[in-house]
Structure formats: C-alpha cells, structure tokens
C-alpha cells in the first residue's frame, strides 16, 4: 500500500492558498443533501461540526459525555499560539512554522505545519468574534505570553483556563447550529465501529450509553475528532473518560496508526503521591514564564526549600540551556527533571520531584514594577512579595488554587513540587494533507491525527491545531471529497454492512459480559499503565520494550478470561463502557511498544537509551528514520509497517539545540 500525503506542489507559502483556490466545491443545494458524521465535540469536533453546518451540510455530532461542552479540550490551561506578531518581537508565519518543525524534532510534514501557521491568525480573530474573553492590556489590545521552545511572545490566553474559553466558544457555535436544526446532537453516545460500504466509510455504529441500545447512523463522510490516547498509561493528565476506542475501531477497519509511540510527557505536573491516585494534574507550561526550576545542589538535601540559600540551588535548565533557560521544549525539560531525580537530587517525600519556584519573579519582576507604579521607594521583601502576589494571582490564580487544593501546600509561599506526567499523544491516525485517513471518506482531526507535531508538540499548539483543523481546514478539504459524491443519495441503514457491523459490536459486548471473572476493569487498566510507564515512558530500551510486549499480550489474555463486569448490557452501565475502552488500550499499548522498538533512534519525546549524544540529548538517525511509521492492522497483535518518507525542502535539518 502506498501512502500519498497529497501535499500540493509549488512554493511552501502558496500551497494552501492555491489549494483553496482550486479545490472543487459543492453547490449549496447539494450540500443540503449531504450528511456528515462528526465524532467528538472538543475543539476539533465542535469547530468542525459547527462550521460544516454553517456551510449547509447536514451534521450529526456525537460525544460520550453528558454535554458537548465537557470534552477534554476544556482542561487546556496555558494558551493558544498564533503568528500575529502583536508584540513586534519578530514573529511571523515562517517563524511559527519553523519553531514547530524544529520543536517536533524534524518528524512532521512541512506542508501541513506551514498551513497550520498560516491559519493560526484567523483562529484568534474568529474566537474574539465569538466572544472568547482573552486576557487584555489596559489599552484594550490582546495580551501575549511565552511558551517553551520559542523566543517570541505569541501565546494568547485567558488566565489559566484558555481551553475552557475556546471550547465554550466552539460549543456556543455548535449549540447555535443545533438550535437552528442544522446539527443533530447525540450526547452520551459512544462510537463503537466505523461502517464501510465498498471500502468507503459510510457511517458508524454508536451505543446509547443510557439505554445500552446500539444505533446505526449513515454519513457521506465520517470525521473523527476523538482526541488522544494518553490514558493508555492509566495515570495521565487526560480526563477519566478520554479513550482510544473510536480511533482504534477505525484502525481495525483499515486506517493506519502513525507514530503511535510519540507520546508527550509534560514536565510540570503535580507528582504522584500515592496508590489512591486516579489521575495526574497538569500545572500549565505558562508557569515557566515566571517560575524557575531547581533542585538542591546537595544530594538528598531535605531542608525546607525556603531555607536553602541561593548558591546551594541548581537551576539546572538555566545551567544546561542558557539560550532558552526554563522555556526549553517539553521533552527536553522532562528528561532533564528525570535525570536530576534519577541522580538522587529529587525533592519531596517521594524524591521524584523538582521545585518550580516563583519567588524570584514575584519579587523582582512584578513586585518591583508594582512598587514603582505605586511610588513606593525602597520596598522591603514583604512589600515586594505582597505586591507581586496580586499580579501572579491574576495570571495564574486558578492554577495556584488547584495546586493548594490537591497538595495542601501554598505555592505563593513554598515552591511548587512538580514532576513529568503523560499529557498528549503526537501519534494518531495517519492522514494526508486533506486530513483524510487511508480509508476513503474517513477523516481525523485534532489530537486524533498524527500530522503536525512530529515527535514533540510545542506548548499552546494543541488548541491551535484542533481549531485550525475544524474551523479552517476540513471545510475546504471535505468539500473536495464530497464534490465527487453528490450523486450518492443517503443510504438506508438496513444495508448488509450495517447489519454486519452491528452484529460484531453486539457480539463483543456479549463476550465481555459473559466472562464473569474475578478482577475489576480498573485493576487491569492500572497494571497496563504501569507496564507502559516503566517500559515505554520517558526512556525506552530494546530489552524493556520486548518484555513489555510479552507482558501486555499476557495481560490482554488475562483480561479476556478474568475481567468482572457487574450489571447487564441493558441500560446505563459505566463499567461495561470502561471495559470496552480498556480492551482497546490493551491492544494499542502493544502497538506503541512495537513502534518504539522499531524506531532505533531518539527523537523528541521518543528517547531510546541506546541512542543519545554524549550530553544525554536525543540522537536522531535521519538517514534511516526520517519517516512517518504507519502501521496497518493485520490481525490482533500483528501489524505491517508502511513508511512515508519526510522531505524537507525549506527547513535545513540539524541537531536540535536550545543551548
């Protein structure tokens, strides 16, 4: 099978413009007869569903939560990037493109990433028009801050809850279309299979989670916006319900999974504190604008951090990476934290944490500025702290509150303790330039696809990609596909392909219910998570990955013979729904290890211990691995690798350096 990325020919900066100008269109009368299924209602799904409905398509949207507003995009904290150059600090479309390619460690496509950078500015305009209350300066203009891997200020934000505000904007656009009758919304519904007719995606089987009934839905095209699969690690910053099921069903129906081992471990999360924990909580990367990361210079130093004098602290990011300091990209910051903790310099009860300390900037950056504004001469330390605290509170108040709630410590007074945690998955369904998978009519947007972030995503770029795909890309590219399908009338769902798909879904549910074993779904999920974290986490090596593959196969067999699901398959049964998701994670985990094992290089978030520079940085092998690893499912636990070679015509590839 050949993988055609369908990147338009021509000059990089003109590819998207030319594509848009020459793409075939569907006339308004025909649009009204065409049905589109959108699964997932996060930033990508809500923006796609509402925009396609505005264009005139008949849209059906699905989410497993009780309302489309709850999708996990809501939890994104720090911000959204756009090449507006409002700060006059040297930003441009090309620079955002370049930073993203470099940040991704040269494992993403030039054409896709340049398009992303181009439409980034439209996203901010669109969101402001919807009433998204971004942070503003006193003059009324929009405010910006910095994120990692970047030397300009291009991140737009709404305190520490930017994702919430952007999602509520997209959700309001979606609800408007629901109110107008252009979108039919199915909340508390989970997609359990893609239905193909003659090799083309023509609908889905969905389960009504309240009644337990299976439903058939036809669509001329199916658009998956179902997020990432970080929950394969059990402990992650994802929501409890985030899952791979929809993407995995698509994979089993022929869609390839690309770079599944590319996982983002976010450097600043609240550390694991005990066995009771069900999830980990992110502390936004934006905090690294004002927080300095350090550990004691002395091994095992367990003094109160406030009692450790300045010259006995190791600001290891500033020491190792003077050019970017605390704002190095996430993969680099995470590995550096792990290195210090593994070497015995970690802090806190578990010794698996480092400090994120705001005191310096609280006093010197904000305290002094406020004192000057208020005309206070020679302020003492307490005055500076009090003045600076108000500024910090306005920027990050909700994050500081959340930290205190979880740890019972006050971060205004004591440095935060943080450690890396699973956060985002760069890998996902393989898509071409049009965001179409290799199954015709089946599309993947946002975190569910693999396309834009290479081996490491830069901060504040997930929101950008989700909305770029939904608002500005899919309305054009889907039209290109549907323009060839205008003669296809909506199909009745009694077609034999729907029969067959529904029967298979029902049989799987019946099989799960019939096991009646002894162990809870949760217990299997925890065990899978531990295997993944220990052997396919921040550092990987061949023997561990081989062990992990064997362990996952065994765990999967045990699950299918000993899982206990209470209740029945009729009515509302969250344990049954969770069982289906964990069953899919048990297959995905194996593929992630297979992918990690086959990629014999280090790049971005994928760090193979065998392949590193003398300074401990990721060592790429561009001669042999500059490709997208796309895996085709052959049978359970069997895949065939297809390579899409990456070509860099504009960016000069180099060893990534933030020193």
């Amino acid at each position: 099978m050949s993988l055609d990325s369908k990147i338009p020919k021509g000059d990089l900066a003109n590819k998207w413009t030319e594509y848009k100008s020459s793409v075939p269109l569907v006339n308004p009368a025909n649009k009204r007869n065409m049905e589109v299924i959108v699964v997932g209602t996060g930033l990508a799904g809500a923006s796609a569903a509402s925009t396609l409905a505005e264009l005139g398509y008949k849209v059906k949207a699905f989410c497993f939560q009780d309302s489309p507003r709850r999708a996990h995009s809501i939890a994104a904290q720090g911000g959204i990037n756009a090449a507006k150059n409002y700060q006059n600090d040297g930003d441009s479309t090309y620079r955002l493109f370049y930073d993203t390619i470099k940040g991704g460690d040269y494992r993403s496509r030039e054409g896709n990433v340049h398009r992303l950078a181009e439409v980034s500015t439209n996203i901010i305009d669109q969101c402001v028009a919807q009433g998204v209350p971004f942070a503003r300066e006193y003059g009324g203009t929009l405010s910006n801050r910095s994120f990692g891997g970047v030397q300009v200020q291009r991140t737009f934000y709404a305190a520490g809850q930017t994702g919430q505000q952007l999602l509520l904007g997209a959700y309001s656009a979606l609800e408007r279309q629901i109110g107008l009758g252009n979108v039919e919304m199915f909340a508390r519904h989970e997609m359990l299979d893609v239905v193909k007719i003659d090799g083309v995606a023509r609908g889905i089987i969905a389960k009504n989670l309240i009644t337990g009934e299976l439903e058939r839905h036809f669509g001329h095209a199916v658009v998956l916006c179902t997020g990432g699969y970080g929950n394969v690690f059990y402990l992650s910053t994802n929501a409890m319900g985030s899952n791979v099921t929809a993407a995995w069903k698509a994979h089993k129906q022929g869609a390839m999974m690309a770079n599944p081992c590319f996982t983002q471990i976010h450097p600043t999360c609240i550390p694991v504190s005990g066995a009771h924990q069900s999830k980990l909580t992110l502390m936004s990367e934006s905090l690294r604008n004002d927080g300095r990361i350090w550990v004691p210079k002395k091994e095992g130093d367990d003094r109160n951090p406030n009692d450790i004098p300045e010259d006995e602290r190791d600001y290891y990011l500033e020491r190792r990476y003077p050019a970017f300091g605390n704002l190095v990209p996430r993969d680099v910051a995470s590995r550096a934290a792990k290195e210090r903790c593994d070497a015995g310099f970690g802090v806190g009860p578990s010794k698996m944490a480092v400090y994120l300390d705001f005191k310096y900037n609280l006093m010197n950056k904000y305290g002094k500025a406020e004192a000057t504004k208020k005309g206070i001469a020679n302020p003492d330390e307490d005055t500076l702290i009090a003045l600076g605290k108000d500024v910090i509170k306005e920027k990050y108040g909700n994050l500081f509150d959340m930290y205190k709630q979880i740890t019972d410590e006050n971060p205004y007074e004591t440095p935060m303790r943080i450690y890396p945690a699973v956060h985002y998955t760069m890998g996902g369904l393989w898509v071409d330039y049009e965001l179409q998978t290799n199954v015709p009519g089946l599309y993947a947007l946002g975190e569910a696809n693999f396309s834009d972030h290479g081996a490491n995503r830069l901060g504040a770029s997930a929101l950008m990609q989700g909305l770029a795909d939904g608002y500005f890309v899919i309305p054009y590219t889907l039209g290109s596909y549907l323009s060839k399908d205008i003669r296809t009338a909506s199909m009745p769902t009694d077609h034999e392909s729907f029969d067959k798909a529904e029967k298979e879904v029902a049989a799987r549910i019946e099989k799960l219910m019939s096991i009646k074993g002894t162990k809870s779904v949760e217990s299997f999920h925890r065990r899978l998570g531990l295997i993944m974290w220990n052997k396919c986490g921040m550092a990987r090596n061949a023997p561990d990955l081989k062990d992990a593959i064997a362990e996952i196969k065994a765990l999967r067999a045990e699950f299918w013979s000993d899982v206990r699901i209470p209740g029945t398959d009729k009515g509302y049964n969250p344990e049954l729904d969770k069982a289906g998701r964990v069953a899919d994670f048990l297959e995905l985990g194996e593929l992630m290890c297979v992918d990690a094992l086959s990629r014999e290089e280090s790049c971005g978030g994928h760090f193979r211990e065998e392949f590193q520079t003398p300074e401990g940085e990721a060592k790429r092998d561009d001669d042999n691995y500059m490709y997208v690893a796309s895996w085709e499912s052959k049978a359970e636990g069997e895949w065939e690798l297809h390579k899409e070679n990456l070509e860099y015509e504009n960016v000069k590839i180099a060893q990534r350096s933030y020193k």
Binding site: V128, M185, H276
Partner: protein, 251 residues
C-alpha cells in the same frame, strides 16, 4: 505509615428514573490525600469485588473544569468547601469516623438517570436558544481592531468561567437557573461583539429557561454561595436589567 480515614457513607441509590430511590450505607477506608471521587473509586472497587453494582456518578476531567461531577455532599452541592468542585474536594476536609451523606442534584429540570447521575441537557437547550454570538466561521475582523477595556474583558471573563455543572440549580429552593443564564448573558452583553443581539438573546434564553422547568429566583443567594467558580450574584442583577430593557424595547 500512611494515614487512613474511616468514613461511613450514606449514598443515594436509584436503579433508573422509574423506580424509587433509597439511601444505602457503606464503610470506606481512604487516604486523607484522596479526592472525594477517588474515595468513591475505592467504594466501587469494594462493591465490584463483592459482586454488587458500583455507584453510578458523573465525572471526567477531575480538575474542576469540565463541570461533569455533581454530588450533593452533606446537603451542599460539591460539599463543604467554598469554590471547590466535588472532584477537587479532598478527604482531608473530613475526620476519621465521619458520616457523609451523598445525593444527586435535585431539580425537576435535572431528572435522575441512575444513582448520582442526572440529566442536565436542559442547560444545553438554554444555550442553543441564544447563548452565543451569531458569527459564522470566516467572517471575523482582525482581533485587535476591536479594543476592549481591560475591566470589561475581566468582567466578561469572570462570568465566562461558569462550568455549567448545575450546582446553582441544586442549591436553590426554587431550582432556578438564573445564575447560569445570568453568567452567559453578562459575558456576552459586556463585550462589544455581543451587543448586536443582546435583547433577542436575553429574551430567548429566559424563555428557554422557563420552558425547561427551572423556577424563578428565590433571592436567597444560595446559588452564588455554592458556585464552585465563584460566579457573583451580580450576574442575576445584570440578567434582570438586560431582560427588562429588552422587554421595554418590545422584544
């Protein structure tokens, strides 16, 4: 040795909307560092291991932002702490040996689905009736061409932090949704982008609110006191003002 709390739980169990519910008593051992929902995870694990049905409850992000968790704890939506959702409430707020009563949101407009899970789709219907700015994708002007004073932006943001959990409704004697509706009306009426359709919006949203079966404002302020995001009572004053002005203009 990790500290342990012994908690006696009285939990509302109701198999489906058609049957009557009742309280069931359980005992749970939990870490003080657990969140309230992690304590429920422990309970559910116990129930599954002993062959019983786990308690159904809504939850997702467990970071206090998605608005899905919804438990009335000892008579108060989201429990005893101010400005905290159920998922962010930690067991260190309780004492060893405490009895804790847990119920679902109670309101006609939020019917129980199962146990502690309720149906809040009425909130979505209110937003669909007008809780938006009518702007299609692609029509926007440059974001900085519209200057918005910082104070207005801050007011709009404060109102926009509503997570749509429904605690306000649950806390109100009349099961009124005016804090929820007021928050959205305030956000959009404060911003210049939202002014073009402010009258149409407020009337449509109030009509939808009434049609969904929410009561009138009780004027007790319980909604704002229990709101996990601290949405101020003043949004209801703004809602009333906007509604009155719209009605006087004949909307």
């Amino acid at each position: 040795m990790e500290k342990v709390l012994n908690i006696n739980l009285k939990v509302w169990r109701q198999a489906n909307p058609e049957v009557a519910g009742r309280f069931e008593e359980y005992k749970v051992e939990t870490s003080p560092d657990s969140s309230f929902l992690e304590m429920f995870d422990v309970l559910n694990e116990q129930l599954i291991n002993s062959g019983q049905e786990p308690v159904a409850f809504d939850h997702d992000c467990r970071e206090g932002i998605c608005g899905m968790c919804s438990m009335v704890i000892n008579g108060r939506p989201h429990g005893p702490k101010k400005a905290v959702t159920t998922c962010q409430l930690h067991m260190r707020s309780f004492n060893d040996g405490d009895t804790v009563v847990v119920e679902p949101w109670r309101a006609d407009a939020f019917p129980v689905i199962k146990d502690l899970t309720v149906n809040r789709s009425s909130f979505d219907k209110i937003i669909a009736s007008g809780g938006y700015i009518s702007v299609n994708t692609g029509n926007a002007v440059d974001a900085n061409s519209m200057l918005i004073p910082k104070d207005d932006a801050d007011t709009a943001f404060e109102a926009a932090t509503c997570i749509g959990c429904g605690a306000c409704v649950s806390a109100c004697k009349n099961a009124s949704a005016m804090l929820f509706v007021g928050a959205k009306v305030t956000q959009l009426a404060t911003l210049p982008q939202g002014k073009a359709e402010r009258e149409k919006r407020v009337v449509a949203m109030v009509n939808a609110m009434d049609a969904e079966g929410f009561g009138a404002c009780s004027n007790t302020g319980a909604c704002a006191a229990e709101c996990p995001k601290g949405i101020p009572l003043s949004v209801i004053a703004t809602l009333n003002k906007e509604y009155t002005k719209a009605k006087m203009k004949g909307f």
